[in-house]
Assembly symmetry: C2
Homo-oligomer: 421 residues x 2
């Protein structure tokens, strides 16, 4: 694949693209900073800044407790219903709650309880480590269960055949990340879900790195359960509450293992007896962090307006463009493509490996105003959020990366990264 290497070509692509107006919907505070980490934390939509002023000043400040009835109590279902349209799900199959981790924990335990006699949960080592830890936690609590972590050969493509072999009559649940956080590999949702179902296992997808960047079809693929994050391509704000999906006909069969008052049919009766809400609402637990939750909605609205099919189209063209630039300009410096070459298997980020990856990452951030993300051990992750990333930014980021290499700017940075205490 060859792409024209001049900046004018990128500008032309930007001028021709149909989604150009959406960049103006986001705060771009530093015009010269190139943000390639929207798959970790999406940009702030201008509407969200306004919405939060309303949530703080009017709802909390003025309406006080009355805002629960007016604005807040319905929000998890209302926003969940909007996210459902991005997932290819019905609006009564999705609700906003807790963190992705807590939601995964709830659904994994619910699945295990619904599959008596089946003792295994199957995942692979390309799953997000936090998901693996949560699955381990669920398995440990469910008693006599085991988590099988199927290894991938190269860390880029998943071990689909080995997963198929491991899925058998002992399997209660298969749980995978639909777009891998490191390589950006996108699983064939229909095919892998069918593998799980053939073995009688339930299928759970974490769609954190997919939702908002590509169309999804949970219902059409027969997916049983899903969780996902709202602060990546949905631009919901740092640590914004996550969502969970339970296929409608499973909602009565699966029980929330972490009951709390908001999952009650009549929470304001304050009854000691558990009497769950019918449907997806039963999977709520405690009081949601309303300011963070309110912040989600404008970002979801923007993705709905832009349309995920158009976003996916742009995203594929952008990752193709970036890979073309890599081939011409970066491979000579020893960068390896750690993402699938086939765009049908690739999400909206591109990973480039380099033995000096961590030092290059620091040089990019400190000296070049390029913000990628770094993933252990040597991986520069370049996230493209098609709703606001431009072709010109991609071109400029590669230009600056080339400068880091030719001027050997990375050499003064330490090679190891610290730990959190």
């Amino acid at each position: 694949m060859t792409v024209p290497l001049d900046a004018a070509f990128a500008r032309e692509l930007d001028a021709r693209g149909p989604l150009g107006r959406f960049r103006g919907e986001f705060v771009v505070a530093e015009a010269d900073t190139i943000y390639l980490d929207g798959n970790s934390l999406g940009r702030l939509p201008k509407r969200t800044a306004e919405r939060l002023r309303d949530a703080v000043d009017r709802q909390w400040g003025r309406r006080l407790i009355r805002a629960w009835g007016e604005d807040w109590l319905d929000a998890p279902k209302r926003i969940g219903g909007k996210i459902a349209r991005l997932l290819g799900a019905a609006d009564d199959e999705v609700i906003v709650a807790d963190s992705t981790s807590v939601n995964l924990f709830k659904l994994a335990l619910a699945a295990l309880a619904a599959q008596p006699g089946r003792t295994r949960v199957v995942t692979d080592d390309m799953n997000f480590p936090s998901d693996v830890h949560v699955l381990q936690s669920a398995v440990a609590l469910a008693g006599d269960r085991r988590l099988e972590i199927v290894p991938s050969a190269d860390g880029i493509h998943p071990p689909v055949e080995a997963l198929a072999e491991r899925l058998d009559e002992r399997s209660a649940l298969a749980a995978l990340s639909h777009t891998a956080f490191k390589s950006g590999y996108v699983y064939d949702m229909a095919a892998v879900t069918a593998l799980a179902h053939r073995a009688g296992a339930l299928m759970l997808w974490d769609v954190s790195h997919s939702v908002g960047a590509m169309p999804l079809a949970l219902d059409a693929c027969g997916v049983d359960l899903a969780v996902g994050c709202t602060y990546k391509y949905l631009n919901g704000g740092p640590g914004a509450p996550a969502f969970l999906f339970v296929r409608r006909d499973l909602q009565a069969r699966l029980a929330n293992p972490l009951r709390g008052w908001l999952g009650q049919r009549s929470p304001f009766d304050f009854a000691l007896e558990i009497d769950p809400r019918p449907g997806i609402g039963a999977f709520l637990t405690g009081t949601p962090p309303m300011l963070s939750l309110a912040a989600i909605e404008p970002g979801v609205d923007l993705v709905l307006e832009a349309d995920v099919v158009a976003l996916r189209e742009k995203s594929v063209r952008q990752t193709e463009y970036l890979i073309g630039l890599w081939e011409a300009l970066l491979e000579p410096f020893g960068f390896r493509l750690n993402s699938p070459r086939d765009p049908r298997q690739r999400g909206s980020h591109v990973s480039l490996g380099h033995r000096d990856g961590w030092r290059i990452d620091q040089a990019l951030i400190e000296e070049m105003g390029v913000l990628p993300d770094f993933r252990h051990p040597d991986n520069l992750r370049l996230g493209i959020a098609p709703i606001y990333t431009t072709f010109s930014e991609i071109h400029e980021a590669v230009t600056r990366l080339v400068r880091v290499m030719t001027e050997r700017r990375y050499e003064k940075y330490p090679a190891a990264r610290g730990t959190v205490t």
Copy 2:
């Protein structure tokens, strides 16, 4: 107890009080509305509105992903350390995380795992129902365990003697709400903790309705575990993240049953192996909702500045004053005092029962601009937040309540309340 019934007396108390300046720290958008629900959702501190503008516009909008290193990642420990001072705990014993329900779930399961051979969790029916549901969830997952819910005689005072009887060699954990959500009863933390310890049980307190309204002494009382809420007397905002406390020498013995990446020693290594942070950080799970979390800190700072001893002193004088007014002006209309008479046993809210309670509540809100809270079946809950509630507001609220009764304003409202769907 008799109190002067004129408004001038209330004004005089307000003028004389040492905490007067703190009301000016809060947004009071409707001067004529009397807010008596700060124990459900505290008012908006003016500083918080500013802090949130910074968190949204500068941290998220401008700094983007860099804000995790600059402002966000340390916040759960930093704010937890400040809350610790309100709890009589060390700063490395408290961390902000998740919701009160999820934290209770984590600590209850951790306690059960640490007490092998002990099969019972003991609570009482004055506990917050959501806490009871969470404990039931934990017990169901721990296998062969049982939750005992000891009934109180009158719903106002707890069954302490019966609790003492139930606590024996089968008890793994006693879990109670320190200030009861309905009656406002405050347990003797030292005495009840000692009862649990005598039986070899761990003691967990939910201090949601205590923290910020009275001094607490978790360490001095030998408390093992605690959880609590930040959006009541700490004024942290709707559904703001909760906190959890684990006594320092238990932190190595107890394991977080819900592992996630933020509880890892080196989360950014993205290792599949679980390697928990040492200390209280191990009890984190997923990514916290940062906007809601950032909102907590200014409210906590204000309570620290006002000092909980001074706040408690004012709170006792205010609930005494309110009970004096009740006795003179409201008891004749059939209101019963559903809170303890002894101020040492009473938190910062006063419950008044009335057979037309729900209708009276509606009339107060709709026609009188008084916002109390209602608790099933007939309970008007009048919350006093000493950091901003004035004696004059208490006087005026009672005056308006008398008007609702003399003018029979409540009669046009329905007697039953609806359910959430």
